[in-house]
Symmetry: C2
Subunit: 351 residues, 2 copies
């Protein structure tokens, strides 16, 4: 069996700005998938769903500071979190038809990989729609859970602020904080998403940072008694504004800083009021969900229970076909999406 497989290759690093077709090329390669062509212990997989996340951008800058995820290699297919189907196996742990979750899946319609510890097999009897593994029960849901429940340590009645609140992490973070009895306010990029946060995700309030551009005034208005937990997804000016409204012993779990990803660091606007962290004894802590993987079972059990009880809503923005990778990635930086961005690489009916 021979397939034509399209894959996205990084041809040049992107020091600043949004990646374009100058940096990412859609190539077509021919793959032989007969038994002789697949090495021992390897499997051939077909990509079904791909998660599109802001951190992908941070692997394309080419900055050699080494302080974030390692940079993608040039002239190789980039990777992302994917759901794939095994179509050939020369590994005794996998059979044809298995559905796998792969955090470092090449962004390619087909590929041959050697299974690693990172792979997880989906239980076909769980009845979970596949995109949910990239969403409520995947990295965004887990990121929200670690930020709010592990690092945020929310107490009933506390005031919680979520930035990028209608994004993949934000939508779950707000709902988890509400379940814990907190008052929750979010910032997001459109009036439509403000409405969604309040009506669909149960936020107590929300504002559009593109129209309420004086963040300090907005936070005075929405947090008259201050902020106890800020789940940081954007950085820059929003963080600076938050630090003028923190309560004693506020917690700031730092999930990401999307406002910073398209700039070289020396040109970023700095945060000038970190001194407020002393007077208010604020704890700010960066995290990567991979470090909390020993808690994934606790998370999955809790989240599944909330989903069954109808306590968690979820929105996906679905792009179709692997050719939409560049467009879907750029969309993360334009306030245009609602919910978690995913690509349906292959229609499930045909898969």
């Amino acid at each position: 069996m021979v397939v034509e497989s399209r894959e996205w290759v990084l041809s040049a690093y992107v020091p600043q700005g949004v990646p374009t077709s100058e940096h990412l090329k859609l190539n077509t390669v021919t793959l032989k998938l007969d038994s002789d062509s697949i090495p021992d212990r390897h499997i051939a997989v077909q990509l079904l769903w791909l998660s599109i996340d802001p951190y992908l951008r941070t692997r394309m800058s080419g900055h050699q500071d080494g302080l974030y995820f390692p940079q993608f290699e040039l002239n190789q297919a980039v990777t992302g979190f994917g759901v794939a189907r095994v179509i050939r196996s020369k590994n005794s742990s996998y059979i044809e038809g298995d559905i796998i979750l792969n955090p470092f899946c090449p962004v390619a319609e087909y590929c041959i990989i050697q299974p690693s510890d990172f792979l997880r097999k989906v239980d076909p009897d769980a009845g979970v729609p596949l995109p949910d593994y990239l969403c409520s029960l995947g990295v965004p849901g887990f990121s929200a859970w670690v930020g709010i429940e592990v690092l945020g340590n929310p107490k009933p009645g506390e005031n919680v602020f979520i930035s990028a609140a209608a994004g993949g992490v934000g939508m779950f973070a707000g709902q988890l904080a509400k379940i814990k009895g907190c008052r929750v306010v979010g910032s997001t990029g459109s009036d439509e998403k403000v409405k969604l946060l309040k009506e669909e995700f149960g936020y107590d309030d929300a504002f559009n940072y593109n129209t309420e551009t004086d963040f300090d005034a907005a936070l005075s208005k929405y947090f008259p008694t201050g902020i106890d937990i800020y789940l940081e997804n954007v950085g820059g000016k929003m963080l600076e504004a938050v630090l003028n409204h923190v309560n004693k012993r506020a917690r700031i779990p730092v999930c990401g800083m999307i406002s910073q990803y398209n700039q070289v660091w020396s040109e970023r606007e700095g945060v000038r009021n970190l001194l407020n962290m002393v007077g208010k004894e604020v704890r700010m802590e960066g995290y990567l969900v991979g470090s909390y993987i020993n808690r994934f079972g606790d998370f999955a059990k809790e989240m599944e229970s909330y989903i069954k009880q109808g306590k968690i809503s979820s929105k996906h923005k679905i792009y179709n076909g692997i050719e939409s990778f560049l467009e879907s990635l750029a969309s993360l930086f334009s306030s245009s999406n609602v919910g978690k961005v995913v690509i349906q690489v292959k229609q499930e009916m045909e898969a």
Copy 2:
């Protein structure tokens, strides 16, 4: 009994720069200290020693952001941490001759106060020289202990960086980290102090930030394997440089940010690379020692034991007479001091 008492009064707030005689006036007041003039439950005290600390500056800015200590009131005597002798008492818990520690002592040669929970009586049999209560066994020693031992959680072999390393907090912080088996490097403002850190306080290495002004290059040189704990005393550019050299799960206890105190916050240079906190999962936490007062007993026991074993050295810079308040305060911002700055308000022999 009537005394002439000189006291320092704040006549104008200091929005930026170092306080001068335009802002702080040395007034002389006449105090009646006979029994009829002292209210019930009050005591009259004579100030012996006064601690001069960077945080005092933050109480003089007049900024109403309310995020640090409350601002001093205009046309009132400012306050600081003092050692004083009771000279008259109408409070049954105090007798003439008692030596007290007062964290909010008016900067005045004499005053009449109502004792509060903040006061602590010195045990005259402890044999501790009085300035040590403002130093190794006082707020600077306790600040160092909370930063290094409580928040820093040092492990043998870890790399520890201390800024303002020859200052009141820094000199103890480095010694405590050495006792815990860490490798310790400090930054300080003169070659003389670099020498002192290495020869007197046991630092493994140290550099002069006034001559090695490329902090990023300096940290590359002194921390080839990265920084695990940074005790933050200065903020601004130094913090930014540190964030380019942090190791995975580094801890940054924030004791203060002296580089920021003389500027209005909107004119401060911001920190542009907080994103590094995500990739390295850094925890940065501001603290005020008052919040750890329940650990003061543990601290005092441990520190006294180290002092008896000769494991802790200490330097004071002593100014003489209450008239030196303005000069001694300004000296904190000029790299000119070694060790903890105190004023000997009254010679002990005469007291």
